[in-house]
Symmetry: D2
C-alpha cells in the first residue's frame, strides 16, 4: 500500500472529490457570524431535517470522520469492561488503529464472517461469561452496512440481529460509512434500514458519497445520549464552525443527492463486474451488492495496473484486490480499466 | 452561556465565517481523484511549504481542530505518569472537557497566572517530586500564544521558559490557536516565535483566523514524532480527504493572508479598546495585546447588550466579559457596539 | 526523600509491621481449599459482618491498597468527562502518580485548603460550567478523613458537604486510609462518620492501622455498584486468595482491635505534641487531631535526626516535617525522639 | 460457574491455601519498622537474590497479582497504537476482563492455537500492516508457560518465537503464572526457560504454587524498565508493606520450595491422568504436561461430581472440564475422585 499514485482510480470512494452541490452548499452558508460549536441556525435546522429522516426520537450529533462516529457512538453505550462483537473484517477492528480500544477501553470480540456479515450463529461464539467478572461483558453487536466486502444485509437480517441483541440486553451498532449504497441496493430508505430495523446507534456517513468531511452519530433512543455532547467534546470531535458540516448534510439530503450518487456508484460497480467477470485470469470473489468489486488477479500484473488506475490489494496472500466505485466513476473509467485488465492478463 | 444568539458579535473569532480566499482554495483542489489520508499531491506540497516556514527539521501533521492538535501533540511527548504544567486559564485545562487527561492519562498541574502567562516562578511551584514514584513527573510546560486573556509572551519570555524546560529535561508546548495574532502583535515571524525560541511542539491554528477547519501539529525536532501518524489515526484525527485541509493552509500562507487577517483583528481590538475604555461604568481589565478586550461591565446591562452583539461572560463573579475581534470585524461593529455600551451604562 | 533508613521512626504509619492478632487471623484461615476470588466462606462471612457496621444497604468490595480503593471507587460514580473536586493536599491528587486521571479519565479540580479540609466556599470555586460541554462536569467531592494534614472533619462538617453534593447531583467520596484515627478522634463510630453523614463511597483503610494489605471500597447506596465487580477485576484488584484479606478485616473489627490501635496512635501523637511543642526552634504547625504531628524544625538538624528516627520532610521550602505515630509507637520512642530534638536544637 | 462449592477440589491451583514455609517467612519479617514501598531491607535483599536467578541485568518489580504483572509488563513495552499477538486461550485475552486493553490501549490480536501454544505460522496471521497507520502495530508476542491448556513450550520453541519477535523489532512476553510447573516439566531452570531463551518480559507467578499474594515483573533488559516504577504506582500495584511480598518470594526460592511444590502438583496431575484416562465415558483431551488435566465427561454427571470435588467446566459446548492439581493435592484426592468418576459414569 506504499506505492500510491494520483490520477483516476478505484482505490476508494474517498479518493473522489466533493460533489459540486455539496461545495455550493458550503459557500451559501458562508455569510457573517454564527454561534460556534453547533448553536448556529444552520446546524439546528439540518438536525431537524435529519429527525424527519430518522424519526422524532432520534438524536443527531455531527463529528468529523467515520472512525470518530464509530468510536464515540460505541463509547456512549459501553463501559470499559464491556465488549463489542464484530466481524474480523470490520473497519472498527481492522482500520481504526485501535481507536475503539484506546477510547472506550472495551475489547472487540471478532469472528470470521463469510462475506463480512454477522449471523446469530457467529455472534453466539462470544455469548459466554455473562455475569462472570473475569470476562469482558458483551454489550454491543456492531455491523457495517454495506460491509467492508461490498455485501449488504437485508432488512430481515438486520432485524434478526437487532432482536437477538435486545433479547440479551445488548445494543446494535451500525457503521454506515457506505449507508447510501446499501439503501440504494435494497431499494429502501434510511430509517427502515436503521432505526426501523432495530439499530440503536448509527454512524451515518457522507464523505464516501460526495461530502468533504463530516459524519453523524444517530441515536434512535434518546435515553442513550443524554451526555453525548460531553463525549464528543472530550473525544476531540466538536467542530467550532459547525455550520459547514450542517450545510453539507443539508445538500446531501436535498433532492436525493445521496441517492443519485449512490445509485451511480453501485451501477458503476455492476458494470465493472460485468466487464471483468469473464476475463481469463480474473476471478471475481463475490458478486457486488453495493459499490465494491473484489477479484483475484495475477499478482504480477498488479503494479502495472495500479500505475494506470490505482487500487488497493485486499489480501496479499491470495492476490485479491478491491475496486471501489464512487459517485464520480465514469463509464470511460470502467471501459479503459477493463481493457487494460484484458491486455495485461492475455 | 445558554442564551446564545446569532448575528454580528464579539463572541469568538470562530464565530466568523471562512475567508473568501480560503474558500476559493478549497474549490481549486476539487478536481478528480486524489489518494486519501494525506498521500495526495496537495498535502505533500503544502507540507513542504510549511517546512519553509518552520524549518527543514520541522514535521507537520494536519488534524481537524485545536483541541486535537493540543492533545495529540502532548501525547507525543508524554507517558501517562507525566504531568503538564500550565496556567489555570489555559484552553487545555478549562475548555477541552478533560480531553488531555482522558487521552494522555497525564495530570495537568495548574498555577494562577496573572494575565494568563507562565513565569519561571510560577512553574517552580510544581517542580517537585522528580524521581519519586508517588508523584506525577512533570514533562511538559504548555503556554498559549496569544493567551486566553489576550496577552502575548515576548520572544525573550518564551526563550526563558524554553531554556528552563530543556534544562529540566522537559518540553515546551505552545497552543497557537491564535498564533497569527501574536506574531503580528510582536511584529515577528512564525519560526522566530516558535521553534526559533525553543518551542518543541506547536498547535498551529487557522480556524480562528479565517479557515473553515483544520489545524496543524508542528514538531521542531523530528525525533519526537516518528510514531505520530499512529497517534493521529488512533486519536481519530486523520482526514480522508486531506487535500481540503492542505488547500486551506496553502491559501492561509499565500500572500500573507494570515497576517492581513490578524492585523485586522488586532487593529479592531485596539479600536474597540479606545472606544470603550473611558466609558463610565466600564473598566477594561487589561490593555489588549492581540485581538481580545476584557472588561468589567455592570451585570444588569449584559443581557440587553448581548441581544445586539453577542459575547461571552468570562467571569460571572466579577461581571468580566470578553470581546473578541476577528478578521471580519468592521469599524461599524465597533462604533455601534461602543454606542450601545455608552447608552446602556448611562 | 532518597536518604531513607530502617529502624524505628515516625515516617509513616505504614512503616509499622502487622499487628499480631491480624497475623494470627491469617494463619487461622490457612486450612485447605477455598473457592478463589471472593466466593469463599470467609469472605462472605466478613462481608456480612461489615454490613453490620456500615448498614444493610452497604456493599463492600475488598481490594489490595488505598490508591486502588480510591480510584476504583471514583470510577464507579464517574464518566470520563466528569471532575472530582478535592483539596490540593489530597492523596488522590498528590500521591497516586496520576492513577485517578489515568484510570477514570476524569480531571481533579483542586483548591488550596487550610488544614487539608474542604469547605463549601472552597468547593464553590469549581462549581461552574454545568451543562457546558467545553468544561468537565463536577460529579464527586472527595475528602480525606482524617486528612493528610492530621486534621479531622466533624460530623457536621461532613454532613454539610454531603448535603451540598447531593443538592447538586454529586457524590461524596471519603478517602478513609486513616478512618480509624478519625473515628477515635471524634469518639464516634464508623457508620455515623460515613454513610450516616451522607458519604456515598468510602475507601476503608486498614493497612495504616495494623493490617498487612487489603482495603475495602464501601458503597452506601447499592445502586452505585451493580457493575463494580467488573471494574475491580479490570482494575487489577481482584485477589485470588481473598480469604487472607477477609481474615484481616475480621480481626481488625473483632474486639475493637481497630479502635485500640487507633487510640494508641492518636495518644502517642498527643504525647509527641506535648513533648516537642515547647522546644525552642521547633514550631508545631497545627495541633494534632489524629495521629500526625507537623512541625517546622531547623533545616540543618533534619539529617541527623532522621538518622536516629526516620521521618519525611513535608515541605522543603518551609522545612516543615511530618511525624506519624502508629499502633506500635512506644512511649520510649517519643521520649528518646524528644530528647534528640532538644539536643539538636539547643 | 455459579454453582461454586467449598472443600477439596480441582478447581484451580489458587484454591489452595498458603504453604507453611511461606507463612512462616511472613511471620519472620514482622519485626518493627521498615521503610514502606519497597525501600525496606527485605525487599532489597530478595531482589538481589532473584537477580542471581534471572541474571544481573534483570530488573525485578513486585506487584500484587498475575493480571497486574501481565498488564503492567505489557504497558512497559508498548504504546497505545501497538498490538499484542496471543492465543485466543490466553489469560490476558480471556480472563482479565479487558484490563490489557483498558490500561495499555493496545489491541490483542488472537489466533486459534491448538494446545494453547503459538507457532510462527500462527503468529504470521497478524504480521501485516507494519508502517500503515490505519492498522495497530504488532509489538509484542505473548505466550503463557505452562499454558492455560496445561501444555508446555520446549526451550527450542520459545527460542524460535523469541528470535522471530526480535527479527521483527518486537518483544516476547511470557505469562508465567505457572512458571514453576513448566520448569519442572522441562527439567530446566528459571533463567534458561525465560531470559536465556529470549524472553524480554516475564510475569513471574507464585500464588498458584503456594504463595499468599504477590507476583513479580521481570525485565531481562534493563533498558525496558527505566520508568517502570511510575507505571507500577499509577497502575495501583505499589504495595506499602512490601516486605511481606519479598518474604514470600524469599521462602519460595529457598530450598527449592517452588520446585518441590511444582513437582508435587505435576506428579498429581500425572496420577490423575493415569487414574481417569481409561474410564469409559471419559475422554482426556490432551496428555497433561504440567499440572492440569482436561477431559470431556458426560454433561449430566458434572453437577454431582462438582458437589464432591469442585472444578470448572472449560467448554460448555463440548462438556470439556479442567482439573487442576496443586502443591496440596493428595493421592487420596486422586483416588476418591477417580472412584467417583467411575461410579458416576458406569
Amino acid at each position: 500500500m506504499k506505492d500510491e499514485k494520483t490520477g483516476r482510480g478505484f482505490a476508494s470512494d474517498n479518493n473522489s472529490g466533493v460533489h459540486p452541490e455539496i461545495l455550493s452548499a458550503i459557500q451559501k452558508v458562508n455569510t457573517g457570524h454564527e454561534i460556534a460549536y453547533g448553536d448556529d441556525r444552520y446546524t439546528q435546522k439540518v438536525v431537524l431535517k435529519m429527525k424527519k429522516v430518522f424519526g422524532d426520537e432520534a438524536e443527531i450529533f455531527f463529528v468529523f470522520i467515520g472512525t470518530a462516529a464509530n468510536v464515540l457512538g460505541l463509547s456512549a453505550v459501553t463501559q470499559p469492561y464491556n465488549a463489542v462483537i464484530t466481524p474480523d473484517t470490520s473497519h472498527i477492528h481492522v482500520d481504526e488503529c485501535g481507536a475503539p480500544e484506546k477510547f472506550t477501553g472495551c475489547k472487540l470480540l471478532t469472528v470470521t464472517a463469510p462475506d463480512g456479515k454477522l449471523t446469530i450463529d457467529l455472534i453466539k461464539e462470544h455469548m459466554h461469561g455473562f455475569g462472570f467478572e473475569h470476562h469482558v461483558q458483551p454489550r454491543v453487536i456492531s455491523i457495517t452496512q454495506s460491509t467492508e466486502l461490498g455485501t449488504v444485509y437485508t432488512l430481515d437480517e438486520i432485524k434478526t440481529i437487532a432482536d437477538y441483541a435486545h433479547e440479551h440486553d445488548m445494543y446494535l451498532h451500525m457503521d454506515g460509512a457506505r449507508i447510501s449504497n446499501a439503501v440504494v441496493a435494497l431499494d429502501t430508505d434510511f430509517y427502515s434500514m436503521t432505526g426501523g430495523s432495530g439499530v440503536d446507534v448509527l454512524s451515518f456517513g457522507g464523505t464516501k458519497n460526495g461530502m468533504m468531511y463530516g459524519e453523524a452519530v444517530v441515536f434512535f433512543n434518546n435515553s442513550l445520549c443524554g451526555d453525548f455532547k460531553y463525549r464528543r467534546k472530550q473525544g476531540m470531535q466538536l467542530a467550532s464552525k459547525m455550520r459547514y458540516i450542517a450545510a453539507q448534510f443539508d445538500a446531501f439530503l436535498n433532492n436525493d443527492l445521496w441517492r443519485k450518487n449512490a445509485i451511480h456508484a453501485n451501477t458503476m460497480a455492476g458494470k465493472l463486474y460485468q466487464a471483468v467477470k469473464d476475463i481469463d485470469g480474473v476471478k471475481v470473489t463475490r458478486k457486488p451488492e453495493a459499490n465494491a468489486v473484489f477479484a483475484i488477479v495475477p499478482e504480477e500484473i498488479i503494479p502495472a495496473l495500479q500505475d494506470e488506475y490505482f487500487f488497493y490489494v485486499w489480501d496479499e496472500d491470495t492476490s485479491e484486490v478491491r475496486w471501489m466505485c464512487s459517485f464520480d466513476t465514469t463509464e470511460e473509467d470502467i471501459e479503459q480499466f477493463a481493457s487494460l485488465l484484458k491486455k495485461f492478463t492475455s
